[in-house]
């Protein structure tokens, strides 16, 4: 790796980090606005035009609020919990290809921080350790509601990870690679993979809702039963970290769904437009962000429509519906590939 490439990668890393934080901040605004609109209200409109400065005001408020650490809590683990959750949320952004690549001076700078050949496994791994933040935070609070929230979070995340992984296996069988860059590149020619894997996509999106603890799967922080769930005892920016990480998770999982099933940065007839390489990359990145925001809209739309599941319904759905469906999807994919040859 040359020096210029290393510097470029570091800059890209910072940009990806900043973009996911900024997107998460404005998603809090978007969520409140959308919730208001769906309920015939106006939403935040005081801070700046259309309330656009609301996330900044919220951030300032979060930082300057009094920080409480309960006396009987476990001090270090109490701090570690939200930090770990935030870290895991930010770690996933590096394997996502945000665009095809820049060409400058004969070298191509890819719009992806790192293209490891086990990209999908990396994603699953980071997602699976993300639950520790919630568990440690909930346990260290020394509060029964926090503990119950943490236990719910851990069992829910493990259950849905299984179905999520199996839904991805069918996709991996089709593409023959675990690298996200490869999977996106394969969708350049031909249809997006959602056409070939509709069942897999539905399973994946349901699991993504569950993994990000969003409604209707927000049982770990279910306020009608558990006060605030795992973040009952948290205040100030540590609470902010928990809430913020949820939005980053949402942003990243939207990006993953867009790249795995909806062609990533590719869009129809992109090569017929006759655009120059670098201009095309900008358009592609814009299209990719458009896809991401559509998914974020769906996340929010579902949250403000569906009521929360009961806990046994959640477990039934995960283990008795999604898991068998995912296995059936793998078998069907295998048979279709066997009889029709690879990719039809």
């Amino acid at each position: 790796m040359t020096d210029s490439m290393l510097i470029y990668k570091i800059i890209l890393c910072v940009i990806v980090f900043a973009v996911s934080l900024g997107a998460a901040a404005y998603m809090t605004w978007g969520e409140r606005k959308l919730a208001a609109w769906l309920q015939d209200r106006v939403g935040p409109n005081r801070a700046g035009p259309l309330g656009l400065l609301q996330p900044i005001a919220d951030g300032i408020k979060m930082i300057f609020k009094e920080e409480m650490i309960p006396t009987h809590s476990n001090r270090w683990l109490f701090i570690l919990g939200p930090c770990f959750f935030m870290l895991c949320a930010c770690m996933t952004g590096v394997v996502i290809p945000w665009g095809a690549g820049w060409e400058s001076g004969g070298t191509i700078f890819p719009m992806q921080v790192t293209d490891i050949n086990i990209g999908l496994l990396y994603l699953l791994g980071v997602v699976s350790i993300g639950v520790y933040g919630v568990m440690i935070g909930g346990w260290a609070s020394n509060n029964k509601y926090s503990l119950l929230g943490a236990l719910r979070a851990s069992s829910q995340m493990i259950s849905y990870e299984v179905a999520m992984g199996l839904a991805l296996i069918a996709l991996v069988m089709m593409t023959g690679t675990l690298s996200l860059k490869e999977i996106v590149a394969q969708q350049d020619q031909g249809l997006a993979f959602v056409v070939y894997q509709p069942l897999g996509f539905i399973i994946f999106i349901i699991c993504a809702f569950a993994e990000t603890n969003r409604a209707p799967f927000d049982l770990p922080e279910c306020e009608s039963e558990l006060v605030g769930g795992y973040h009952t005892e948290y205040s100030s920016m540590k609470l902010g970290f928990f809430l913020f990480a949820e939005y980053i998770n949402m942003f990243i999982s939207s990006a993953i769904m867009a790249s795995l099933y909806f062609g990533g940065y590719n869009f129809p007839f992109q090569h017929e437009l006759g655009l120059d390489g670098n201009v095309l990359t900008i358009v592609q990145t814009a299209v990719f962000f458009g896809k991401i925001f559509i998914f974020i809209f769906v996340f929010m739309w579902v949250r403000w429509t569906l009521p929360r599941f009961r806990y046994d319904q959640l477990m039934n759905l995960g283990w008795k519906v999604l898991l068998p469906l995912a296995i059936a999807n793998i078998i069907i994919t295998g048979f279709v590939m066997l009889f029709m040859g690879k990719l039809g």
């Binding site: 609109w37 015939d40 106006v42 569906l306």
Partner: protein, 196 residues
Amino acid sequence: MMQLTNRSMQVAKKELTFMERLYFPAIIKGMIITLSHLFKRKATIKYPDQVRELSAVYRGQHVLKRDEAGAERCTACGLCAVACPAEAITMESAERKKGEESLYREEKYAKIYEINMLRCIFCGLCEEACPKEAIFLTDRIVPSSFTRGEEVFGKDKLVEGIDLRVDVTKRQTQEVLSFKTDKKHYHNQTFLDKKK
């Protein structure tokens, strides 16, 4: 049983059909409903910027009127307190001294006059009971406060200022106005009239 609306539905606990057990049609139906609300007119009135139009007979915060010469009309007869169904009004009367004719219209006046705005139900019976046309309900909204004590309004908040008259013409019919301005009634004569 009589049906109150024609929209009521008979509820029965049946086995769900396969389509119902899929849940997806129902979920999509619900999501279309919420999406349609995205484009509906918003019900919110942005209060300090926009003010809701009040009805002509809106009953808000009370005012104790002065007559045209600036003397308080209230004579502390207590009829409003008797009429009040919420028992929100208390008063203490006092006798007018020499030289206070410009302040109080009758020989007896209310030294203390308090309305508990937390008890008041804004029914307007005090206004109906008043023989001196002294108390009126206006279209002003009672401001909120941090303590209960602040919500007990004394004369300082209830009596209108001499230069800051509160307009209650919306609540006064022609009969009331003529009753109030007819100088042949003793109670309509101001101290200036009496001087003549």
